[in-house]
Symmetry: C2
Subunit: 285 residues, 2 copies
């Protein structure tokens, strides 16, 4: 599968690159970014998939999270996809930051016209790991997933439904129960239709109730000055669902921190070391 | 002098903020960003002024350089001004990324109409330190300056002409001899007029030849894959001018690194520790 290099930049002894390829899953061009740590010159390294939130793209995590320094130290590859297909030309796919382009919600849409292109679950869980394994020194059998907000929802639900693929998981300010909050109601009713039975496979709390488990204990950080905390995020729902399921969870609440990337940058080192402990072993993290 | 808080964000135990105020020097509203390290809650801390390059603004360094982690560790305040006055309404002030808004070149223009508003030298060296000292726990008697590209030119020239103000200095890929390269020719001929005698007070190499010296040894990093290296930057001119002047200089060349912020992020920790050694003492850096 051919990928096109858009740009590459030396960074902490490794390479930060931007790429584009023709995606089967989303039936169009998709962009993604990759940070290759210096260790990747000596052989395949574990991969951390990094999922961004509403309005973001494949550049956001690479530019704002400040994760490359620690990834270079640990020997982790960072792969960040775009948050949706782009340039779909579909009526209603642009102009609303909560739905459509930039707001793919890491699901496979079932409703026309969205089902033709908005298939980010298949893209992130299946196609992208294969593309990365083919093009880079990536050991995708040692892969973790992290996400922010809508991307936190993506990380949690993909880790629950593909635990063999994503062996470690963490999230910043994730949407933990989209079937219960306005962001999820709006997106799911359009992508998945009004029958809410189909929604639960994309809701981390519902998946836990249905018996799904993470391959390893998740790490979740949440700022208490996050303006979306009560209306859209509600981390107490994840705490309750994990407790009821006997699923270990580390959920940390941080006074004063908001929903933005200064919050993420402040705690990203802890997340990368969490993934490295699982993917590389505790002595290497 | 009243400043308006645009936003504030918890970051590495400190606060990253964006502010606006009515500037006397530039006769209009100016924005700047400040990172206050946690140590600033206990008293005034040293300040590092951070000057961005062409097309950038007060957000660029704050978002892309990844400097807050080390600043929080060392107890340094980071202050980043915009790169020029904005919304000037002057003919020719917008539409050219190398001149006008976003391209103030850290000088006081002498030519109409620019001399009315484009007075970034006075703004950065005199007005902004006072504004910061009045509003924050900033010890501006312990101040350093760092810059990138056009901002590196600003850092070097301001440190040479105001060594009592800027006791430490460093630069990433600076323009070291603007009187000798196209970026400088274009900007200086408009801001300062065609008489080149007036240009030399804004040229680091010319200032060194004229007897100016830094308060302490500068640290300069330059990537060798920088597309502007030969045409606009020419760090060998700074090396030669320092050598002829007996001015100590640390100039590091980095194979593979380009002109962007992934280069800056890779080496920003060394710069902050360089400033801290001078401003706080070697045992605190």
């Amino acid at each position: 599968m051919a990928i096109e290099t858009l740009s590459e930049h030396a960074c902490f002894g490794g390479v930060q690159g931007y790429y584009r390829h023709a995606s089967d899953a989303t039936r169009g061009a998709m962009k993604f970014s990759v940070f290759r740590p210096p260790q990747a010159r000596g052989g395949a390294v574990p991969v951390l998939f990094c999922l961004a939130g509403l309005t973001c793209n494949e550049e956001t995590f690479a530019i704002k999270a400040g994760a490359q320094r620690v990834a270079a130290d640990l020997g982790l590859m960072l792969v960040a996809p775009d948050t949706s297909p782009r340039d779909t030309g579909m009526d209603g796919a642009t102009g609303d930051w909560e739905f459509g382009e930039g707001a793919g919600f890491y699901l496979d849409a079932t409703q026309a016209p969205w089902s033709q292109r908005f298939r980010m679950r298949s893209y992130v869980a299946e196609e992208l790991p294969q593309v990365v394994a083919d093009a880079f020194a990536a050991d995708v059998d040692r892969a973790g997933i992290v996400g922010h907000s809508m991307g936190g929802h993506g990380a949690l639900t993909l880790a629950l439904t593909s635990p063999e693929r994503f062996r470690s998981v963490s999230a910043f300010a994730p949407i933990v129960a989209p079937t219960q909050v306005p962001w999820g109601h709006k997106a799911f009713s359009r992508y998945l239709g009004e029958d809410r039975n189909g929604w639960e496979t994309y809701d981390a709390c519902a998946l836990l109730r249905a018996g799904k488990r993470f391959a390893s204990e998740p790490l979740v950080d949440q700022g208490l000055a996050d303006t979306f905390l009560a209306s859209q995020l509600q981390p107490e729902r994840l705490e309750a669902a994990c407790a009821a399921a006997g699923q270990p969870l580390t959920l940390r609440r941080h006074a004063g921190y908001d929903h933005g990337y200064f919050f993420i940058a402040s705690f990203v080192e802890a997340h990368l070391r969490h993934h490295a402990r699982i993917l590389l072993g505790p002595q290497r993290a």
